[in-house]
Symmetry: C2
Subunit: 371 residues, 2 copies
């Protein structure tokens, strides 16, 4: 048995939605779940207690960033990432692959791994399946991700095939390098926008002993209809008894649709990033609290929200904090937006449990304004 394992509790009768539990060394968590992102060993602006208060379960931290600063060695000496940042629930680390591939001209890929220049000081660095696993073992996350290439969109069939096959070889090397028993590895399905390459990727990874699977290379610029199409064809092929994590996706519309297609886990920087720009997420769309129209509006951000921010502060006050460039503004909106998505995932779980996810999805689309 892997240290981290997925327990399928219920499959929805009329959709692909699944209710489950994710067992980890730091507790058992409910899926479908949204994971707040704590890139640099902190979910921007927030304390661990604020995360617990909003019922955050697993959070994500970035191997690339921590590898460069403060370094894996320092975090190992601190007793691991949980202790370093004082987060007592689950932590998932990505592999660093996504970030180094995003560096474009600043990186070079070989079969061995990726050489790149640090965005902090320009120094030459190297990440490979083995280095990524070593770093993630030093971080001591509950879930480590295999080192993969996230293929850009669009990419031609040949490049996608070559890259996806390399990702599979790298996945094997990750498993081989991995030794930490209180941590589990997830493989990452690639294959771009080609159903047959997605199938190839799923089948190759299935041969290996992963605790769960990321689905990578989606939401990279393709139309949403194409994303859902490829996603559905991918999840159809996947093991029902392992967790499925759609990487980097976390807007409410995408979460509803992906849950409908059988996805269990999500992460996204979107809610905290737009929070810092003064945008609140609500069930009916976005609210830009910086706008002058809210200057004397003493209602909470969202009348229906039960988050700390909405229970205690008005739109007028939050707008004042933004205009006055006060840091509390960033916190209050980050709390609201993360609470919104965590609660959204909770509502989805409740709907699946009560056999009304299909209805929930219909209702969501009836109210939602994409703006």
């Amino acid at each position: 048995m892997h240290a981290v394992h997925y327990e399928l509790l219920k499959e929805d009768s009329s959709t692909g939605a699944r209710l489950g539990k994710l067992h980890t060394p730091h507790g058992t968590f409910d899926t479908p779940m949204f994971m707040p992102v704590g890139t640099q060993a902190t979910v921007k602006t927030l304390s661990p207690e604020e995360l617990y208060d909003m019922h955050s379960q697993v959070i994500l931290s970035n191997t690339y960033h921590l590898f460069l600063r403060p370094g894996a060695d320092l975090i190992r000496k601190a007793g691991g990432l949980h202790k370093f940042m004082n987060y007592k629930k689950g932590i998932l680390t990505d592999s660093g692959g996504f970030q180094v591939f995003s560096l474009g001209a600043m990186r070079k890929i070989t079969e061995e791994g990726v050489t790149f220049r640090s965005h902090i000081d320009g120094s030459k660095r190297f990440l490979s399946p083995e280095v990524s696993v070593q770093v993630q073992e030093a971080l001591g996350s509950d879930i480590a991700m295999a080192f993969d290439e996230c293929i850009p969109y669009p990419s031609d069939f040949e490049y996608t095939k070559t890259s996806t096959q390399r990702t599979s070889r790298w996945a094997e090397r990750c498993l081989k390098a991995h030794s930490r028993e209180d941590q589990s590895l997830f493989g990452i399905v690639q294959g771009g926008m080609y159903p047959e390459l997605r199938r190839m990727s799923v089948e190759q990874l299935r041969e290996m002993d992963f605790a769960g699977y990321g689905i990578g290379g989606l939401s990279v610029g393709e139309p949403k209809s194409l994303m859902y199409d490829i996603l559905g064809q991918t999840t159809d092929l996947m093991d029902k008894n392992k967790a499925r994590y759609l990487m980097g996706v976390g807007t409410p519309d995408c979460i509803v649709e992906a849950v409908n297609l059988g996805v269990d886990m999500f992460d996204c920087v979107f809610p905290t990033r737009v929070a810092r720009n003064g945008t609140a997420m609500t069930a009916t769309g976005r609210l830009v609290v910086r706008n002058a129209v809210y200057a004397e509006d003493f209602a909470p951000l969202d009348e229906h929200c039960n988050c700390y921010t909405c229970r205690n502060f008005s739109r007028a006050y939050i707008r004042h904090l933004f205009k006055a460039e006060e840091i509390l503004a960033l916190r209050l909106l980050s709390i609201h937006n993360l609470y919104f998505l965590l609660d959204f995932a909770r509502q989805i779980r409740e709907a699946i449990a009560q056999d009304r996810f299909s209805e929930f999805r219909q209702q969501f689309w009836a109210n939602y304004q994409e703006n």
Copy 2:
């Protein structure tokens, strides 16, 4: 009886130190007390709950800043400053005098008041005793301060006399303009570095019906020995049954010495300002946590401190947050520094209650390094 009134509980037998209670419409608080500063209707980076957790009592907010942004009218509509910022304990507002006088070339003083240019948009604005009182009544603070001139150092005798007499006339106008029954006005003693003008100021204000007194125009650049000298000569003349608030002073050394001379209340932006630069205050002096020497130091900021930050995070982690420019760093150090000063005031109260303030003061100086 004033809405706010001071109750003298105990005078120390061998020093000027006093133990007291300050009764306000938002609760009764213990003196000597340190007041955290929330300039723009927020103690920078912190939530009200974080302030309660560190046993914050009265906080200070700035009339000048709130007058310009978001405006007194908006805060009145919000139900007052307590409700706007959701702080349920005491609030003291200054008069705006200190800030407008600090504008230098951008302001013009007449008997009527001060015309100045807003530091935000350059617009022409006017503050007078009457306007300051109106604004503070709209804010609804528990304690409003009279509109005064904080005399720069050095200033000659003639200017100091002229200004101090005007401050007394303005004090009368403030009392006349004031009507809010759930708010009390404090007068402000001026007189620069001239004992006879301090005496004149105290005597003139004593004729008026103030609930308590600020002591202004100290810690404005003069040597500390001169400050203590003038302060002692001033408190000697003051009514024992009213609160004495030494404005803008709040480092541990000055607090100990001023308590020794009979001061009850303090405020200072120093602890939160240096926090945001990465400096922690401790009983033995300052610790610059950004320094490389703390990179792998997994001890708390201060081994003897019981604040949230010291109970949960290491120097190495906080240093990492500063290097990575994470906002949580600013919060964690602000919490530590304010806790340090609030707890320092608590220790002083305990020492006075137990008749060992003189010993406490000696011990303080034996350990303290001014750096």
